[in-house]
Symmetry: C2
Subunit: 114 residues, 2 copies
DNA sequence: CCGATATTTCGATGAATATAGAAATATGAG
DNA sequence: CTCATATTTCTATATTCATCGAAATATCGG
């Protein structure tokens, strides 16, 4: 994952309706959801939702697949995991930051925000 | 972590110079770096970098601390981990998506992008 | 083919964001 | 107190983004 595609993915998620749509798809699982169902659930006009779904797809965060008259969207977890990996890459310059329990992407977020 | 703070964090990272600065701080570790050093490393004017660092700080992704004439910035890993947790929350509706090896935030990104 | 359904593309408008020089603020040294 | 250093705030401009109705495209049933 390079800088440009990372920015595209982050920008895609940094918007109210797109973040909501993505989370909805994450919860929907591999089955996915039709574009119309997503628009209905989030109470966003179809044309607006289409605009946002296109950006999520362009960023690779969701896949689209036509099924009859509907287009089914589904979350792609791999891209999001790649995102996280890119952000924490070469953490602490490779030094032993495990002592601080800071670099591990697995730990829960309990540290104080200074 | 709620929707608004998540969007703020994602938007903060979705910009070339801010993403580069954050990654630089992640690699710098707990020691952090002075604002001027970051601006020099990324070849961005000081006033522009200050604008970007303020946004990262407002999103909680970095902390700032004055040390003599310098202001030292350091990455806060907890917020980023909280970010990832929020995105994958209630994945697959809680069903057994482990069979698909899709929901785990730990796995490496090797699945095909459909 | 024709009508109904599902979704996308187009187009215009208003809002938010990035940029960088100049001026202002804060700290330390002599 | 004064000068030098480090960073931020101010200000203006150019670019990008979100919105949503209307029209266009694609698919299915009869």
């Amino acid at each position: 994952m390079d800088s440009q595609s990372t920015i595209r993915a982050l920008a895609a998620l940094a918007q109210e309706h797109r973040l909501a749509a993505f989370r909805l798809l994450v919860q929907a699982g591999p089955e996915g959801m039709a574009a119309g169902a997503i628009a209905d659930a989030l109470e966003v006009p179809a044309s607006s939702m289409s605009f946002h779904l296109a950006q999520l797809a362009h960023a690779g965060l969701v896949s689209q697949q036509r099924r009859s008259r509907s287009i089914i969207y589904a979350a792609d977890y791999a891209v999001m995991n790649a995102l996280m990996a890119y952000l924490t890459e070469n953490c602490c310059g490779g030094a032993s930051c495990a002592s601080d329990a800071a670099c591990s992407p697995i730990q829960s977020a309990e540290r104080n925000v200074a």
